[in-house]
Symmetry: C2
Subunit: 150 residues, 2 copies
DNA sequence: AAAAAATAGTTTAATTATTTAACTATTAAA
DNA sequence: TTTAATAGTTAAATAATTAAACTATTTTTT
């Protein structure tokens, strides 16, 4: 591939990923209750998927410091959506789990977000969206490999 | 397409787009000077591409209120990377343009970011990445149409 | 077993990003 | 020529983030 062509693809990728990132954030926000943020949604989503989760894991998933997670989880604990429990074997570890209200909220919200994604994903053919997601998943694997080596 | 299958694709899309969003943000951050943020990079990038730009345009691109843009541009003006100039015909309008330092910074940073993107984009075949970006671009157009109708 | 090092998480202080509501200045419409 | 609308700013509040210092606990080393 020529240098010109690669530079062109890179530029297109940067523009389009910026626009989708910002637009997707705005669309997700519309589906949330007034007092909830996108990051709070993503945090609760991660915890639901893992069932139980530590600050360290979340910090790694979000790519931020652990103290950022402490601050976020504090707000969610105050809102009654999350609870902390200590590991009995290793008392340094704190597990984060959903409260009943937290579970109810994330379940309802996931339904709204699924409908949102469905509203545009169905505008693509199954082949196109499958190929798109597969490349996306490959990108995740490449990122993970880069992490391991550097 | 069956309901099962769509739900599965939606779930994969949500997971993968979250992971790429967070990971990409972390990688971009690594390329920036200590005192610069990702949003500041994206803001300067947008202004460079448009040459001159208003708060209203940026607020729409970023999907935030105009006052958020005022705050961000204030910081960049204080840093000497951006300047404001009033339109002579319509004195309500303020144009944002790069200072010489701002232009130098974004040019150097774009080079770093391009190298970063190149480091993973070249792990795909030209066909795969072209198809990926085309679907991405189609997604942007769908978002824009949704904006028009709703 | 005692001392040193590593790990998990929190606190604190500072900065950035964001929203909403009220505001100024200017232009366009009635 | 009032009245509307538009462009942008200000102010107060909240959320997200980092870096550095800290507590508590567990693991490793000597």
């Amino acid at each position: 591939m020529q240098k010109r062509n690669i530079d062109d693809l890179i530029e297109r990728y940067l523009s389009v990923s910026f626009m989708v990132m910002k637009k997707a954030a705005a669309l997700v926000k519309c589906e949330l209750d007034e007092d909830m943020t996108n990051d709070q949604y993503y945090l609760l989503r991660c915890i639901k998927k893992k069932a139980k989760c530590t600050s360290t894991e979340l910090a790694s998933l979000f790519g931020v410091n652990k103290s950022a997670i402490t601050a976020m989880t504090n707000r969610l604990v105050e809102k009654g959506l999350l609870q902390r429990t200590r590991d009995q074997n290793d008392r340094r570890v704190v597990y984060l789990t959903l409260t009943e209200r937290g579970d109810k909220w994330i379940t309802e919200t996931e339904e709204k977000i699924h409908k949102l994604v469905e509203s545009f994903i169905t505008k693509f053919s199954e082949e196109e969206i499958e190929a798109f997601i597969q490349t996306y998943e490959k990108l995740v694997r490449i990122f993970q490999e880069m992490e391991g080596t550097s």
